[in-house]
């Protein structure tokens, strides 16, 4: 979702959720409000400067590393760093690495920090260019000339990370939030990597005007992403267990518009079996409660229920239920069927598939994400035995980042070992 140059959504507003991507490739996100502080790289930073800035802007750490200060980026900061690194590489004589004196390096860092503090101008902005600071670091290190190419690069990058941290503010999207969680809490999103996350959305054929039923135990990442991709055209039925919709907070962090938020409809899973039957209470707003726990007598309960029913029907009931669709409308939507079922659950998926399958339209796609192979294989076989599915496929993808430089291209050494498994199938119905 690229921001428009002239649109109102091109700048960060007070109360928006913002993804922070640091120059040492760390991710975080937070809601920015005036006076609030955000935890970033183990520091609590004031983020007032972010409000009103364009998405994609770059910030440096201000005095005492307590606040973010806007940097004007006429040339991409990434380019600047890359060129600096390359220039330093070219002057290398390729000597063998010597043992690094960590104590001496720490002293250099302290000196540079003093220099950096002195170079703040009146507005608090760092007036020292990154190249200058790195150069100072290199000059101060007596061992630098003796280092190998690799050691020099590592030294520069280390200095950069410590002294010239930059923070870029990004819109919360499926991609950026997936990166945030992969970096900070992969368990929270079931270990779903960006490649598997994107594969789920693609195999589910997510598009505008579609209806999708989602069981999302990945903190709402999938529900929010589907709604964001549809931009309010279509519906996402977020199925949850218990009496409270899950992951509402995470969905909010997508900064969804009113239409997009309205396209998400929470459905308790215990409601699903009753969809194909009419009930007397169908004109009431959908109730998430699993069972009544009223200790009163049956007569009192009925009387209260009648009063509440009447007030809900005329809209005078103060309950939040009045904002929900009625059970009748929800049944109407669900009976029409969904293009895809998306399941990313911590439980065994087979019972969930069984419960949700009646709502998958013919030729619709079932997409199940799982972090463990055995349950997915079992589900794959179980689906094949039903004879109700075509193209049952169990996918595993691998994502490898590459360093591409003249004469020095290679895949990165460390990657996440697994991004999980994705099972997809297309539903068939009897002729």
């Amino acid at each position: 979702m690229a921001s428009g140059a002239d649109g109102t959504d091109s700048v960060v507003r007070d109360g928006d959720y913002v993804v922070f991507h640091t120059s040492d490739d760390r991710w975080n996100f937070a809601q920015v409000k005036r006076g609030n502080r955000v935890s970033l790289n183990s520091k609590r930073l004031k983020v007032d400067a972010v409000i009103g800035c364009e998405w994609g802007s770059v910030f440096s750490l201000g005095r005492n590393k307590a606040e973010l200060i806007r940097e004007i980026e006429t040339v991409s900061f990434d380019t600047e760093l890359h060129q600096l690194s390359e220039e330093l590489h070219t002057v290398s004589n390729g000597a063998e690495a010597r043992d690094e004196n960590e104590g001496a390096e720490a002293e250099i860092d302290e000196e540079l920090e003093v220099v950096r503090e002195d170079r703040h101008d009146e507005a608090g902005k760092v007036s020292l260019k990154s190249a200058d600071l790195i150069e100072l670091a290199v000059r101060s290190n007596v061992n630098f000339e003796g280092k190998s190419l690799h050691a020099r690069k590592k030294f520069i990058m280390r200095k950069h990370a410590r002294l010239l941290l930059r923070v870029r503010i990004l819109k919360p999207t499926g991609r950026t939030l997936c990166n945030v969680y992969c970096d900070r809490n992969p368990h929270g999103i079931l270990g779903m990597r960006l490649d598997t996350f994107s594969l789920v959305l693609t195999l589910a054929n997510v598009r505008a005007d579609g209806h999708y039923m989602v069981m999302d135990h990945a903190l709402g990442l999938l529900v929010g992403s589907v709604a964001q991709r549809m931009r309010g055209h279509g519906k996402v039925f977020s199925v949850f267990q218990g009496s409270t919709p899950a992951c509402v907070e995470m969905i909010r962090s997508f900064n969804l518009s009113a239409e997009e938020t309205n396209s998400i409809r929470h459905v308790p899973i215990h409601f699903l079996p009753s969809v194909f039957q009419d009930a007397p209470d169908d004109d009431l707003p959908l109730n998430f409660a699993t069972a009544r726990r009223d200790p009163g007598s049956a007569t009192d309960q009925e009387q209260r229920s009648d009063v509440k029913r009447a007030r809900l029907l005329d809209g005078s009931h103060p309950s939040r239920l009045t904002g929900r669709p009625t059970a009748r409308r929800m049944k109407y939507w669900l009976r029409a069927g969904c293009e895809s079922l998306i399941i990313a659950a911590r439980h065994d998926a087979l019972p969930l598939v069984h419960a949700m399958l009646p709502f998958l339209a013919s030729s619709g796609n079932l997409v199940v994400f799982g972090n463990n192979f055995q349950p997915m294989a079992e589900l794959q076989y179980a689906l094949s035995c039903t004879r109700s599915f075509a193209r049952i496929q169990l996918h595993e993808t691998s994502l490898v980042h590459h360093q591409v430089l003249p004469g020095r291209s290679h895949p990165k050494m460390s990657e996440l070992a697994s991004g999980g498994y994705v099972l997809s199938a297309t539903k068939l119905t009897a002729s």
Binding site: E73, S76, S198, M230, D278, R329, S384, T397, H402
Partner: protein, 406 residues
């Protein structure tokens, strides 16, 4: 097709939902209201996995394949997502069937006619996520090729977005335009014959008006600055290049322009697994060391459903008698293998043919009670291409300043 995939129902107000309306909905509702095929529509015909093709539905036309003859006109007015029985039975083989499915970009990618190397679904997925596309985005694509990526882009940005696609080959452009028209996507996609490397993007694409640019060209490095001028702030660029030398040149240009941040190059490979009921034969070692199933391991796994307590591997191997067909065995043809041995080769196709009535009857979804084994398919999509992603910095000032960086 995108518009028609879901039949529009006028949504009634709650109070106005009458019984008759609900009855009407209920009739359509048991399996949803799937799209109904009309004259001129494209349908996907799934044969034995993984074979798949597409057909244009025309009354009076026939599809003929190894499963028999199928009258395309018989599909009109009927929903997709079902088995389609051959109307003319093959002698001695009974009625066969194929699956009729609605076209999606993922199925189209497999069913289309290859004019160039296509972008496969797992790459499409990653590219779409990185480009951060949604309904309403404007995308430039250089290198239409076989239309695989074009269809996927159109699906995501429809109905309010636009895909402008360019290709240097006139014949490919003509074929792509025909396919786009067949898929009823011409309101979203415009395919033009144009060499963007020499001529750049058309003047009609104004500066900083595009959400994303996708480059699938032999020399994307020559278009990167041009793309940067068209991209909105934070707009995404994706390059699809098979060779690392191409990536080097692209990155030189991306970094040299000073106009992009978060530059990444990745490869994305996929592997698919086949799961079958299978127990490997246990060797008879001629010594008394038979390990019995259902010991402490089975007791520890309270949910274990494989059963067989008290039986030896020999007993179970005989009972389950499963098998591995060829690597392309159709998973959807898999049947519970309890006490039944799956046939092979010609015998298999005959069995499937004669078993048509049984196979079309759906069975309930249940936990498997047989031992399962999974293995990867023999073939996989290994290295498809390097995917390079970058995002345009928000600064839109004089780009002459930034040009000096290189």
């Amino acid at each position: 097709m995108l518009r028609r995939l879901r039949t529009k129902i006028d949504e009634p107000e709650d109070a106005a939902v009458t019984e008759s309306v609900l009855e009407d909905v209920s009739e359509r509702a048991t399996v949803g209201h799937p799209p109904v095929v009309a004259e001129g529509d494209v349908v996907i015909v799934g044969e034995k996995y993984p074979n798949i093709s597409h057909e244009v539905v025309r009354a009076g036309h026939e599809l003929q394949n190894r499963y028999g003859r199928f009258r395309l006109g018989s599909l009109i007015g009927k929903p997709v997502g079902r088995r389609w029985k051959s109307e003319f039975e093959k002698a001695g083989k009974g009625a066969c069937f194929v699956n009729v499915l609605a076209p999606t970009p993922e199925l189209w990618t497999v069913a289309l006619q290859h004019r160039t190397q296509v972008v496969y679904s797992h790459d499409i997925a990653l590219i779409t996520a990185h480009l951060e596309l949604n309904a309403g985005s404007v995308v430039l694509e250089a290198g239409t090729g076989s239309c695989s990526m074009t269809f996927a882009l159109a699906r995501t940005v429809a109905p309010h977005g636009t895909v402008l696609s360019f290709d240097v080959d006139e014949e490919r452009v003509r074929s792509a335009q025909q396919e786009i028209k067949l898929l009823k996507l011409d309101h979203v996609v415009k395919v033009e014959h144009r060499n963007v490397v020499t001529r750049g993007f058309p003047e009609s694409v104004v500066q900083h008006s595009v959400d994303a640019v996708f480059l699938d060209l032999p020399d994307p490095n020559n278009v990167i600055r041009e793309a940067a001028h068209r991209l909105k702030p934070n707009g995404a660029l994706a390059c699809f290049s098979p060779c690392v030398e191409q990536v080097q040149l692209s990155l030189q240009e991306i970094r040299g322009s000073g106009l992009f941040y978060d530059v990444r190059t990745v490869t994305n490979t996929t592997r698919q697994y086949l799961t079958e009921a299978e127990r490997f034969p246990v060797p008879d070692l001629g010594i008394d060391n038979q390990i019995r199933r259902g010991g402490t391991c089975a007791m520890a796994a309270s949910n274990a459903t494989t059963g067989g307590a008290g039986k030896t591997d020999h007993d179970e191997a005989r009972a389950y008698a499963a098998i591995s067909d060829d690597e392309h065995a159709d998973p959807e043809m898999s049947v519970p293998a309890v006490g039944r041995k799956r046939p092979r080769g010609k015998e298999a196709s005959r069995a499937v043919s004669n078993d048509t009535t049984d196979v079309t009857v759906a069975l309930p979804l249940e936990y498997p009670t047989v031992p399962l084994n999974s293995r990867p398919h023999r073939d996989m999509k290994g290295h498809t291409s390097y995917l390079t992603f970058a995002y345009r910095i928000p600064y839109l000032g004089t780009e002459e300043n930034t040009a000096t960086v290189s």
